[in-house]
Symmetry: C2
Subunit: 212 residues, 2 copies
C-alpha cells in the first residue's frame, strides 16, 4: 500500500519524552522524495530519471519509496498535483478578492517572477514538464485552477470594457505569454537579470497587449 499526504501537516516532527528527535518520519521522507524527484524530472525528463537515481539523490531507499508510492507513475502524479496545488495556494494567498483585473494580472506576473528566482524547480516543472503522452491523464498545467482563476477575472475585464481583446482565451495567452516566456528564457539562462528586476516591464508590456 501507499499513501500520499499533504506537504504541510502536523505530523512533520515527532519528539519522544526526552525531546530527542526521533528517526526521520515517513512524511518528511515522502516530501524529500517528491522534491528530489521533481528536480531530477525537470532536469532529465520523466524517462531520464531512474528509481536508483532518486535513491542516490534523496538518500531514501528503494523499499521506502515503493512503500510511499505504488509505482513510478504514481510518484509523478503526486508531484504534478502537489506542484499545482502549491502554486495555486500561493496565488490565492496574494489575492484578497477585491482587485481590479489589472491588479490580478500584475500579481500573477510578480508571483511567477519571484518563484522563478526562489523555486526554479517548481517553475520549471510548471512550464517545461511535459510527460510525453506516456502518462495519459495528466491535466495540462494551463487547464488547472490558477489559470481558470485568471480567466474568470479576464472575462470580467472584457465585460467591463477594460480589455480590448474580446476572446478571453486569446486575451489570457497574450498577457501571460509574455510573463511565461520571460520565465522560460530566464531558466534557460538567456536572461541574466533576476526576473524580479523586470517584472514591472513585463506587466506593462502584457497590459499594453490587451488593454482598451
Amino acid at each position: 500500500m501507499y499513501k500520499v499526504t499533504s506537504f504541510w501537516n502536523d505530523h512533520s516532527f515527532h519528539y519522544d519524552t526526552a525531546m530527542k528527535i526521533r528517526t526521520i518520519n515517513p512524511e518528511e521522507k515522502t516530501d524529500k522524495v517528491i522534491r528530489t524527484a521533481r528536480r531530477l524530472f525537470v532536469e532529465n525528463g520523466y524517462c531520464g530519471v531512474s528509481i536508483p537515481d532518486i535513491v542516490k539523490a534523496s538518500g531514501v531507499s528503494t523499499g521506502a519509496i515503493y512503500s510511499y508510492f505504488k509505482d513510478k507513475e504514481t510518484l509523478a502524479k503526486s508531484i504534478h498535483t502537489q506542484t499545482i496545488d502549491e502554486f495555486h495556494a500561493l496565488f490565492q494567498q496574494r489575492l484578497g478578492g477585491e482587485e481590479t483585473v489589472y491588479e490580478v494580472l500584475k500579481t500573477f506576473t510578480e508571483l511567477v517572477c519571484e518563484l522563478t528566482e526562489s523555486e526554479p524547480s517548481m517553475m520549471k516543472y510548471m512550464l517545461f514538464m511535459n510527460h510525453g503522452g506516456s502518462i495519459s491523464d495528466f491535466s495540462p498545467v494551463c487547464t488547472t485552477e490558477p489559470f481558470r482563476l485568471l480567466q474568470s477575472h479576464l472575462k470580467r475585464g472584457i465585460t467591463q470594457g477594460e480589455i480590448r481583446v474580446k476572446d478571453y482565451i486569446i486575451a489570457g495567452l497574450s498577457y501571460t505569454g509574455i510573463t511565461i516566456r520571460a520565465a522560460e528564457l530566464r531558466m534557460d539562462g538567456l536572461l541574466t537579470q533576476p526576473l524580479t528586476d523586470i517584472s514591472d516591464v513585463l506587466v506593462e508590456n502584457g497590459w499594453n497587449a490587451i488593454k482598451s
Copy 2:
C-alpha cells in the same frame, strides 16, 4: 560509419534504364527515420522512445538506422540541426530584406501559425523539445539563427524609435511570447480554432506590447 545528408538533394530518387523505381535508397530512408523519430520524440521524449520503437514506426531496420547514425544521440542531434535549419530556411524565404520591423515580426507570427497547423511535429519540436540536459551541447532553440535574425531587426526598430521597449531581448520575448504561447496552447488542444485564423490578432497584440 554514418553520414547525415541534406533533406533535399538530387539523390532522392534513382531510376534504372527501364524507368522502374529502384529499391528505396539511403537518403529517403534517412529522411524517414529522422521524421519518424522527431514525431516520436516530441510525443514521448528522447528517453521515452527506443530504437525498436523507431524501427516499428518507420519500417527501417535496426541495422540500417545504425548505419546512418552512430548512435541514438547522433540521431537526436541530426533532428535538432535539421529542424532549426528547415525553420530558418522557411523564414528567410519569406523575407525579402526590405521590410519594416513590423513586417518582419508579422512574417514570423504568420510562419509559426501556418507551421503549427501544417507541420505540428516540427513546431512541437521547436517549442517543447527539451533534451533534458542528458545531451549536453544542444543549443537552445532561442539562441539559433532565426531568433538572432529577429533580434537584429528589433535592435533597428528600437534605434529608429518604432519600439518603446529599450532592451531588445525583452522586446523580443514580449512580442514572440504571445505567438509562441498561442502555438503551445493550440498544440496542447486548448485552442480549437486554427492558428491561421487568429494570426492577425496575435500580431496586433504583440505589436501593442512593444510599439512606441
